[in-house]
Amino acid sequence: MKFLKSVPIIFLLFLISCSTQVSDSVSETIYTEVEGINFDEKDKIDTSLEDKVFFDFDKSTLNNDTKKILSQYVSESKKANIIRLEGHCDERGTREYNLALGEKRAIEVKNYLIIQGVSSSKIKIISYGEEKPISFGSTESDWKQNRRVEITLF
């Protein structure tokens, strides 16, 4: 019985220990600020389009499949307030170089959309390099999924 009584306390302390951890960390993932603009993930526009485009290793060039996907975004992009482009890389190679490469990938997508008539001021880019993989393994099929630009409309 004594033990049962202490259960809520344990639970409470567990929460405290968790919340200390949260207060140590500064940002939650709900809001992300890019170039000074806050995005509310709840305001995402669901386009039902493919939200990722993929790249070859150490390359930022767009292939024809990618261009086909991006061209479907043009009309949606013109209606949206913000187009967020997140560049990513696979784990191979060096982290800081990959940060730059992820940015080059996002820029290539941005330039394509601009040529198609999307206003450049609406497009916000960010690179996470190899820091945020979606597939955690070390095979070509994992790497393929991680070399990407994620497109989100708000």
Binding site: I10, E28, E35, D58, E96, Y97
Partner: protein
């Protein structure tokens, strides 16, 4: 009540904790044999053995010596009179370390000697005094002196390692621990990526990259006060900070609309100057020990290669020519050799090179190696690699006589950064 405490402790431990303990994977056959004798003390046998073990643990930390077991020792000398060279010649010991401890008003004075058995003489005599509670630091300093007397290299037992800990997806911590893995401290945690730790030359600050605001921003954190500051400059994406050897400048990368270039920031007058100006990727700067040059990675020639820029006239020279991927270089303290990531056919090793010749020495066998960091005495390289989806740190002495790894139980560890010599 007991259960409650156990549960509580368990949860606190779960929060982080990497505890990097060095495990030797391979020691060379021809390592020097050392014998560390218990230090004679009036504080009792337990303490004598404890001091011995502390010194012995340090000296053997990186697998550079074979250490003689206590049971095999024929005598326990504590000064020159009680030392018989024959006792050690019989056991083929190369170096014997011994001494005694005096206690005065809570302070300890440790006298220590190193005998070179082959040379037939005492090569080091010293003493160190400190409070009893600082026995850890005292034995580190003795180990440093002993190591230097034997190898000619400054000891690195009183240095630290900074690293990024990724205990689970979307959780990132920047940690600092003693080089032997003790006293791990979490400096900062975030749900967004943390990258690129770099020590200030005085060892009091750490620069690193955090995505906490939704873009890559450089922070300088004071390790004593915990205070963090950013750099007031243009450009939303800043990365790869590196402190100049004189502490006055911080070189880093600013990307203006997708074009990363190297800049130099004067920490005193807060002025910023652009060093490289190319539409390709320029990143991963690294200062030469004299502060006159920087190495950096650029894809201006088509694939990532290492270049060198002179700070005074911004003249650029290509350094690496072989292979499709050479990046993230660092100078050895001699300013003549460099370490970097060398990739060929999608396989990435750590490599070293003398700047005067073209020959690349590949020093690792694992295939996803990155972020090499060099011990301040230039003798050991620690880097990050990966096995079974888990990132971990590994290391090698530059003479390749010893290899080791620093495994963790949970999560991934990466981007090691070795501190300078500390006081």
């Amino acid at each position: 009540m007991k259960i409650f405490f156990i549960v509580l402790i368990y949860f606190f431990c779960l929060n982080f904790e990497a505890k990097l303990k060095i495990e030797i994977i391979k020691g060379s056959e021809d390592l020097p044999d050392i014998a560390v004798v218990p230090f004679k003390s009036s504080l009792g046998r337990k303490f004598e053995y404890k001091v011995r073990d502390l010194i012995n643990e340090k000296l053997t930390l990186f697998g550079e010596f074979n250490s003689l077991e206590l049971e095999k020792m024929l005598s326990f000398p504590f000064d020159e009179e009680s030392f018989y060279r024959r006792d050690w010649e019989l056991l083929s010991v190369d170096y014997a370390v011994f001494g005694e401890i005096y206690e005065t008003e809570g302070n300890l004075t440790l006298y220590y000697l190193v005998a070179d058995i082959g040379l037939k003489r005492i090569i080091l005599r010293g003493d160190i005094t400190g409070e009893n509670k600082n026995i850890g630091l005292i034995t580190k300093k003795i180990s440093d002196r002993v190591y230097e007397s034997i190898t000619g290299l400054k000891g690195i037992f009183n240095t630290k390692l900074a690293y990024i800990l990724n205990p689970e997806p979307n959780k990132y911590s920047i940690c600092v621990s003693d080089i032997d893995g003790d006293n791990e401290e979490v400096l900062f945690s975030s749900n967004s990526p943390l990258m690129s730790p770099d020590w200030s030359p005085d060892g009091n600050k750490l620069a690193y990259v955090s995505f906490e605001k939704g873009f890559a921003e450089i922070y300088i954190q004071n390790l004593l006060t915990g205070v963090r500051e950013t750099i007031p400059t243009l450009g939303m994406s800043k990365s790869a900070p590196v402190w100049s050897p004189d502490s006055k400048n911080l070189a880093f990368v600013i990307s203006m609309s997708g074009n990363p270039d190297i800049y130099n920031y004067n920490l005193k007058n807060k002025k910023i100057s652009r060093l490289t100006n190319h539409y390709g990727i320029d990143t991963e700067p690294a200062w030469s020990p004299d502060g006159k040059k920087l190495l950096f990675t650029s894809n201006r020639s088509g694939s990532p290669q290492i270049f060198e820029i002179k700070v005074s006239n911004k003249r650029i020279k290509r350094v690496t020519l072989e292979g499709s991927y050479n990046a993230r270089s660092r100078f050895f303290p001699d300013g003549k050799n460099i370490v970097f990531v060398h990739g060929n056919n999608g396989i990435f090793h750590i490599a070293t090179r003398n700047l005067k010749d073209r020959f690349i020495n590949i020093v690792t066998k694992t295939t996803l190696d990155e972020s090499p960091t060099i011990s301040p005495n230039g003798h050991i390289v620690i880097y990050s690699t990966k096995k079974e989806n888990q990132g971990y740190l590994a290391g090698i002495t530059v003479d390749r006589k010893s290899k080791f790894q620093l495994p963790v139980k949970k999560g991934s560890v990466r981007e090691p950064a070795w501190s300078p010599f500390l006081n």
